[in-house]
Symmetry: C2
Subunit: 109 residues, 2 copies
């Protein structure tokens, strides 16, 4: 074991979980905030900004890219990353939906 049983869940539940997992790390949250802040997409500046090794940053960027949340464009020697608008909006709205499922207490517990 140690393997998530994806078969028993809906595609939507699995997709949402995958996206959330991509977000669920402080380094990746920090990376996304940086990318958004420095609107012009950045690259190895992230290695300087955050206190992690180059290999580690590169790996986090790869995970965000695999999840489809960001995209990278080669720009000479360096690579320029930015938000992938479609995935961002989709995730945003899916999360909005998910959270709005719950409407105030009721009376239980």
């Amino acid at each position: 074991m140690g393997l998530t049983k994806t078969e028993i869940f809906t595609d939507e539940q699995n997709r949402l979980a995958v996206m959330l997992k991509a977000l669920a790390h402080p380094a990746r949250i920090a990376i996304l905030q940086q990318i958004i802040n420095v609107n012009a997409c950045i690259c190895g500046d992230l290695v300087d900004e955050l206190g992690l090794a180059q290999a580690t940053i590169s790996q986090h960027l790869k995970e965000l890219k695999t999840a489809g949340l960001i995209q990278g464009a080669i720009e000479g020697v360096s690579v320029c990353y930015c938000i992938e608008p479609k995935a961002w909006k989709l995730l945003s709205s899916q999360l909005g939906e998910f959270f709005s499922l719950y409407k105030e207490p009721a009376n239980c517990c």
Copy 2:
């Protein structure tokens, strides 16, 4: 290694990451949806609804409870779980904020 370097991130980044990690599993998403759907809080019905062993469900419930997203009340032999409104709203608004940081493209990439 294998240990997230929380020291180098802000409290907010760490907190958000912890909450997202709690959400980032299809079983836990399914559990939350069930809890919300069957508005009256449910309990071991989850074991029947989802196709996971009792021990596994209990473990996922514990993680959600540790994250503060749900709360459980003993009700005779069984336990009744429901959303913790404050944490739910807080996370919802924090995520809303996070996603709204990004406003349309710009021109990069």
